[in-house]
């Protein structure tokens, strides 16, 4: 099917003024990362503990595995299994073409992950409900199938996420093939660092269960075991994370240096130091383990570890949102000869967004004196609202930009000089025609008026 029609395949836009659609997606994703990382790490830890329990005939350890499994079922699996598809839903409404680009290239990989996901969920039930009810050899098989299937879900998703950042091999653009897009240095760096961080998260979560063990000696033993796992995960994870940073392309390195908030690096080191100190303390004084403390550490990891890390990952791939060919504002901005994908920038440059977007009302197809403000609003919705609040709220709101300057001519000059030409390293090129640039500038300059009209 030839897609080179007069109309581009752009979707309607969901504009969320309070947070921004990107943040909604980010919040769902961060919760999912915590739950899924804990699940996978805990699956590996449970497999190890179940093996020790069966081989050394330690029923109390088996009981710990069972209780840990119940906790995972209620916390990680409920949260993870719902926020997983939840990411699809939120990406669908925030970035339909970005998601579509990933889905259409990696559908079979995702379907493969789904097979592992089914095995994993069935596995956690078996691990919980068959503890002490089947022979040891069978229980070990259940544990290992569960653990390896869980880890395999990570192996699959890591490659897709790596592709989302940038295709593993540059030849993917010319030759195609999911393998070329999937595997790159960043993929392997992520496998190692994520596996370690998953073990760390599992050790934090495991502490919540260990804190309630009544047998004092066993509680100390479990606390030490988990502390070792946590320390190992935190330290090695940090090493592999640093290695991962060296595999980033030059553009990402530049964005890391110039666009991330100054607090990013200190925050990451601080949370790592706190976690290392926490596990070290537990090693020296296992009796210090208390459930509220373990829960607090989980929350700290979510807020000070995962959230900034995920934000940094989002920033590094800018201005693209998928595979270095779909912009964050949904426009295909690069040819992918292997798939017959054409950049839409030339069409937008020559014909204008308003003329070729299928979801623009007919009276806005051409900018004229009677519709400039509304046309500008439509352009802002399509080109800008994925990343900017069109007022004073949301992410990077227009109301706080241009240093308070509301002069339409100045804004138009900036748009033409920096955005139409693509001179902003972290922003998509916005190939506006002159009349469109004028309308957009007018809209931005008239924001207070616009809001008073539309309120």
């Amino acid at each position: 099917m030839d897609n080179s029609t007069e109309i581009l395949g752009l979707y309607p836009t969901w504009y969320q003024p309070a947070l921004g659609s990107g943040w909604v997606l980010g919040i769902v994703a961060v919760i999912h990362v915590l739950a899924s990382h804990t699940s996978v790490g805990a699956a590996l830890v449970s497999t190890w503990l179940a093996t020790v329990a069966v081989r050394r005939n330690r029923p109390e350890l088996l009981e710990y595995v069972r209780k840990y499994g119940v906790f995972l079922l209620v916390f990680s699996y409920v949260l993870g299994s719902i926020t997983g598809p939840g990411i699809w839903f939120s990406a669908t409404v925030a970035s339909p073409r970005g998601l579509s680009a990933l889905i259409h290239s990696y559908v079979w990989w995702w379907a493969t992950e789904w097979v592992f996901f089914v095995i994993e969920v069935v596995g956690i039930y078996l691990l919980v409900y068959l503890a002490g009810k089947v022979d040891g050899r069978s229980y070990l098989k259940i544990a290992w199938i569960f653990g390896l299937a869980s880890w395999a879900t990570m192996l699959v998703i890591v490659g897709i996420l790596s592709f989302m950042m940038w295709p593993g091999q540059e030849r993917w653009f010319s030759e195609g093939g999911t393998l070329n897009g999937f595997f790159g240095p960043y993929t392997f760096a992520q496998i190692l660092s994520r596996t370690c961080f998953m073990l760390m998260a599992a050790a934090l979560a495991g502490g919540l269960i260990a804190a309630y063990i009544r047998d004092g000696a066993f509680r100390l033993e479990m606390t030490r075991k988990l502390a070792w796992v946590g320390l190992f995960g935190a330290v090695l994870g940090a090493v592999f994370f640093q290695w991962g940073l060296t595999t980033l392309p030059e553009s990402a390195q530049l964005l890391m240096k110039t666009r991330l908030p100054g607090s990013f690096v200190p925050t990451m080191w601080a949370i790592l130091a706190v976690i290392v100190a926490y596990f070290s303390t537990l090693l020296l004084r296992p009796s210090a383990l208390k459930a509220p403390l373990a829960a607090g550490m989980m929350v700290a990891l979510l807020i000070f570890g995962i959230w900034p890390e995920e934000r940094a990952r989002e920033s590094m791939r800018k201005p693209f949102v998928a595979g270095q060919f779909v912009y964050s504002n949904q426009i295909v901005a690069r040819d992918v000869p292997a798939l017959g994908v054409k950049s839409e920038l030339p069409v937008l440059e020559s014909r204008g967004m308003l003329a070729v977007h299928p979801f623009i009302p007919e009276h806005l197809r051409r900018v004229d004196a009677g519709n400039e403000l509304e046309a500008g609003h439509a352009l802002a919705i399509v080109y800008c609202s994925n990343c900017h609040g069109l007022g004073t709220t949301g992410t990077r709101p227009f109301g706080e930009m241009f240093a308070g300057n509301r002069d339409a001519e100045d804004i138009e000059r900036f748009i033409k000089g920096a955005l139409v030409t693509g001179n902003m390293v972290n922003m998509p090129r916005i190939p506006l025609r002159d009349d469109e640039a004028h309308a957009l500038a007018l809209f931005i300059a008239s924001l207070p008026l616009w809001h008073s009209i539309t309120r």
Partner: protein, 401 residues
């Protein structure tokens, strides 16, 4: 939306296999998902009834069904991932537009489902064995929210079938409406049909449950007969309700569906419902039957086929949208990867999981796996190790090139 625009909305990346493959998988996995959804809704309703009942049989069944419901929610969610994936692959223009137009509801779906699930767990941990716990209300809340989640999915699916109205919804009076707050299209008869299906499917589940309990020597025969009687009533009575809902749905179909109610596919759906009504008469064994549930599963699959035919009638017939024209960029590796993982690895692992939980459930005391069951587990484990090995093999191969 004209057909050129609908085609333009397709992913320019194309598909890695023929769309027919995805269509078949979509129908198959959607049917599996719906079976889990029906058991989930039915067992939750029975658990709720049991939680408020004084009758000993009801209370006992309610407790057992709570266990079923909790697992069924998991399975419904997990299995539901697959049709959610495949629908985006081949019906991307329709699914994505519909979601964006009701974005708040699509996001709300996540929260609604989360609260529903945790409300169920709240009752499970706090009030499962209690007789007057207020946690019963959390189970009621759970059921209401599960139905609400189903309604949101129904809305998203319905809006996807209305390309001719999208622009009017997105830009009413010519002004962009980007809040995603609206619910634009629903059909209560269609929604009721799919919800009512839970009754006969759960009835069939009870007949299977009764058969399963028959293995236990110390079971109360009166309780077992009561379960079988309830199962039959749900199948037959519920089946008639489903039939009425179906008739109402067909009577209120949108114009673009044409003469679908008189099509072969519609007769197929009717046949499936009749099968549900007649199943108790077909499987009359006093000790219950697994055949009734197999029949119900088959009936849901037929309904899924008919539902897909309706979508094709609307999108293909009225709008000229042909799935077969989707661009294909065949990717041999990922095709092989999924097929071998699904059939080989998944087949062994799930067969092993079912076999061992089935046998362990029937055994009093410790169950020692039979050589056959043990072999299944070995195959599953070996397949997993091979899978991981090939992953790194191909990974390093790509890196070495």
């Amino acid at each position: 939306m004209d057909i050129d625009t609908l085609y333009a909305l397709r992913s320019s990346s194309g598909l890695p296999s023929h769309p027919a493959v995805f269509l078949i998988l979509l129908v198959l996995t959607w049917a599996l998902h719906m079976i889990a959804v029906h058991v989930m809704l039915g067992s939750t309703a029975l658990a709720l009834t049991g939680a408020f009942a004084a009758n000993a049989h009801w209370r006992r069944l309610g407790s057992a069904m709570l266990d079923t419901a909790k697992v069924a929610v998991s399975l419904a969610i997990v299995i539901g991932v697959a049709p959610l994936l495949f629908v985006q692959v081949i019906y991307d223009p329709f699914w994505y537009v519909s979601n964006v137009l009701s974005a708040r509801w699509a996001i709300g779906f996540i929260v609604v489902l989360l609260v529903a699930y945790w409300a169920m767990y709240h009752h499970y941990f706090v009030g499962k064995e209690g007789s007057s716990g207020s946690s019963r209300w959390s189970l009621a809340l759970s059921l209401i929210l599960l139905l609400a989640a189903g309604f949101i999915m129904h809305v998203l699916a319905s809006q996807a079938l209305r390309p001719e109205l999208w622009m009017a919804w997105y830009a009413p009076d010519g002004h962009l409406e980007t809040s995603g707050a609206g619910i634009h299209e629903f059909n209560l008869a269609r929604f009721s049909f799919f919800i009512a299906l839970a009754a006969p499917v759960t009835g069939a589940w009870l007949l299977g449950y009764r058969r399963y309990l028959a293995h236990r020597e110390d079971e109360n025969p009166e309780y077992l007969d009561w379960i079988a009687g309830l199962g039959r009533k749900l199948m037959t009575g519920g089946g008639f309700v489903v039939l009425i809902c179906y008739a109402m749905w067909m009577a209120t179909l949108q114009d673009t569906a044409g003469n679908f109610p008189l099509s072969l596919w519609s007769f197929l759906a009717n046949g499936a419902i009749l099968l549900l009504i007649l199943a108790p008469a077909l499987f009359r064994s006093p000790s219950g039957s697994y055949g009734a549930f197999a029949t119900a599963a088959g009936a849901v699959l037929l309904v899924a086929v008919a539902r897909e035919a309706l979508r094709h009638r609307i999108l293909g017939g009225a709008h000229g949208y042909e799935l077969s024209t989707y661009t294909i960029h065949f990717d041999w590796y990922s095709n092989a990867l999924f097929c071998l993982t699904f059939v080989g690895l998944g087949g062994f692992a799930i067969a092993y999981s079912i076999a061992i939980s089935w046998e362990a459930g029937k055994t009093k005391g410790l169950y020692t796996a039979s050589p056959r069951v043990d072999r299944l587990g070995k195959f599953a484990l070996a397949a997993l190790c091979i899978w991981i090995a090939q992953y790194f093999f191909f990974g390093f191969l790509v890196m070495a090139q």
